[in-house]
Symmetry: C2
Subunit: 429 residues, 2 copies
């Protein structure tokens, strides 16, 4: 159980034990795919999450083309502002991967073969079947002025450079490899090098309350803040509020007093006092109370269930989902009556109610969540425009069915539906 | 039907009609949430996708803190390199949103009230219930040297500045609002202003073939390329290859000849000749052939079904999913025999087979896809380590069950599973 709790609650940054705000660092990502919209950059999100608790704050991220001039220009600019830069991408085995040779010329050094990387490549290609290709063998050749950051998950090793008080970590761009190199090779170097206490910030969330209304409630509170900043992070009907120390002189005690004041001012507008996603909140809740849950999803297409399965430990509480996209499935699997579908339509409180009842019968779950609605862009009517959704929740003997109108594209609609359902569930428990 | 086809195939960039490579632009995103890992930047991915076909190539993206110095410093640096910058974020109604005042001082102008924005705010707050708050009313006050970029989806308008041959578009950071402002207000300004023909590039995809083996096969082809570049975009057992014109002098005819040569060299290693996601490929396939499909997912937790539902038009082919996370659901909903579960285990080819058979009986689908495996991080055994997955696919009377080992975290595992299943399906159809 311990592992799950830690994993699910990883969003919460522990409070600092000394009055220090950490060190600014920059991230440079290399690769046309990030610029032409083919790839979403999740690496820097991951890096921010693991490095912030160590007091390393990312103050700038720059995405550039895989061109020598762009790489060298960005490194020069970044090292004017900060002492530590992390660079990802452009370390693969193919011709468009130029980072290694650019860094070798940037740091003006020769090259060496890393025997442990060569051995690792041999093992990988032995397991994969084909012979060890010359093109991959080249990946064991590294600049001789860098330390190897071993990559257990792939063929391209990371590199660690130190020169005249400046530090550079270079890693391939594949997310799983960034994680492996960071955890297995980079953090063990950083931890003793930068003896930095964690930064001081905490985040809470509200649900279904507009940002401007929260801001009005907090006007007085914000005007009293001194040495602390409050950031509003709105997303899909949830507004997260992050209080962070801006002045290193501000004591931890004073910070805690501000936090307490924020909590009291917001009162029952607070959805959760930790920086959890809605899926983490739901899994925490069900694990804490030893409850099981299942979902019957039409318009949300299994989104709610899948968000839960993305968390380790989901199997302790989550039983499963019926994505009843076609009406036949609502009838035949969930037992929604044909007469209900005919007289009220698939998008109705009556159908949502029968979906959740059928779900809880079928899955014998403590909590059932059912959704039916119109995600758009087509399918809306005057009565039930695009964005209409009915959410039915059953918690033991209690049932609640509510209608909402949600904005945005199909994925936005699903995310808002999940957030709205969690708020509806919270009010029942 | 027309709408669906256009929407699903949107990834394909039309070929250029003139020999021109477009204009470089830069994106600056403002907001601590992007730096501390609380938000993933999808706006710049969207912007790249809609602007590239107009010949506007994003050459750099920079994410910075919401601090005046950082904003002004970045604008100065960007305008040294390019003539057009798009800036997102920091335009909300709260105190941490400073972009508007910084831009007003950057462009040295006064302010004005935009009556159409004020009217829009009145309408929004009439519908939302509460009175029009002073804090939101401020959002109708704009620098008097900018044109308003109307925001139909939210309260913060975008702004368009032109000065001495430099252009700046500023928008709020909420993805739905970026889309609305871009499509409704920005593109109508850009289209006549930059009469740029589209850039010239095309992308194909391969599946389950390592990048280095593809690179070896393409060594000769790449050495003959002149005025064109080939980029490798590996992700989750799929490698996309993007051929793009680098030299404006290269004719479209020559570009097409290179593309044809690439197609012939790769032969049946090609999964798809368009830049489609796997879910787009599956939906296209089923719509083209007038087939229905459904999924029974254990370890992938409804991921495959949900990827489909995220596409408009999914309801024409997709029937639904049973996410049978708990073994009871495999038995009771899908009809997997208890004896099969007991003697072979939930993660076995026998269970996968019975899952897909039960699914197709229940849903009467032309194509059924079933997954069962161990996503990790725990649950592995010596026989069936973490990453083991059995995928069963039924297409009419044919059934294929295969075992794979997939790497990565839980989400990585699901994405690889989807990609692998699509390759397995393609071989059957």
């Amino acid at each position: 159980m311990f592992f799950i709790r830690v994993c699910v609650k990883k969003g919460l940054t522990p409070c600092g034990f000394r009055y220090f705000c950490g060190m600014d660092i920059e991230i440079i990502t290399i690769g046309d795919e990030l610029l032409i919209g083919q790839t979403i950059d999740t690496n820097s999100v991951y890096l921010a999450q693991v490095l912030a608790p160590m007091g390393l704050n990312i103050s700038r991220k720059t995405a550039i083309k895989d061109q020598k001039d762009a790489i060298i220009g960005s490194l020069n600019e970044s090292f004017k502002r900060v002492d530590f830069v992390i660079l990802t991408g452009g370390l693969g085995p193919t011709n468009d991967d130029i980072t290694k040779s650019v860094l070798q010329s940037y740091f003006q050094c020769g090259s060496r073969i890393d025997e442990s990387v060569l051995e690792h490549l041999r093992l990988i290609f032995k397991n994969r079947g084909p012979e060890l290709f010359e093109i991959n063998k080249m990946q064991a050749t590294l600049p001789d002025c860098c330390k190897t950051l071993f990559n257990s998950q792939g063929t391209a090793p990371g590199m660690w450079f130190m020169k005249e008080g400046k530090y550079l970590a270079a890693m391939p761009g594949v997310p799983g490899e960034v994680r492996a190199i960071t955890e297995e090779s980079l953090i063990p170097i950083l931890a003793p090098l930068f003896k930095l206490p964690p930064a001081l910030h905490r985040t809470l969330s509200t649900a279904l309350i507009p940002e401007s209304i929260i801001a009005q409630k907090l006007q007085n509170f914000e005007s009293t803040l001194n040495g602390c900043g409050l950031a509003y992070l709105p997303s899909h009907n949830v507004v997260k509020l992050r209080l962070s120390r801006k002045n290193p002189e501000l004591s931890e005690q004073k910070f805690k007093a501000y936090w307490q004041q924020l909590i009291e001012t917001l009162g029952d507008w607070i959805f959760c006092e930790d920086d959890l996603s809605m899926s983490e909140w739901l899994l925490n809740l069900t694990l804490d109370k030893n409850l099981t849950f299942a979902t019957a999803e039409s318009c949300t297409g299994g989104y709610i269930g899948n968000q839960i399965v993305q968390l380790s430990g989901a199997s302790q509480a989550y039983l499963g989902t019926v994505t009843a996209y076609h009406n036949n499935i609502k009838e035949e699997v969930l037992g929604v009556k044909k007469s209900t579908l005919n007289s009220h339509g698939a998008v109705s409180s009556e159908t949502a109610l029968e979906m959740v009842e059928g779900l809880c019968r079928l899955f014998r779950a403590d909590i059932g969540i059912a959704t039916t609605g119109i995600a758009g862009p087509s399918g809306g009517t005057a009565d039930k425009p695009v964005g209409t959704i009915f959410i039915a929740i059953k918690f033991r003997d209690k049932i609640s069915v509510k209608q909402y109108t949600l904005r945005g594209g199909r994925l936005d609609f699903m995310i808002r539906a999940m957030n709205t359902a969690m708020k509806q569930l919270k009010e029942m428990i």
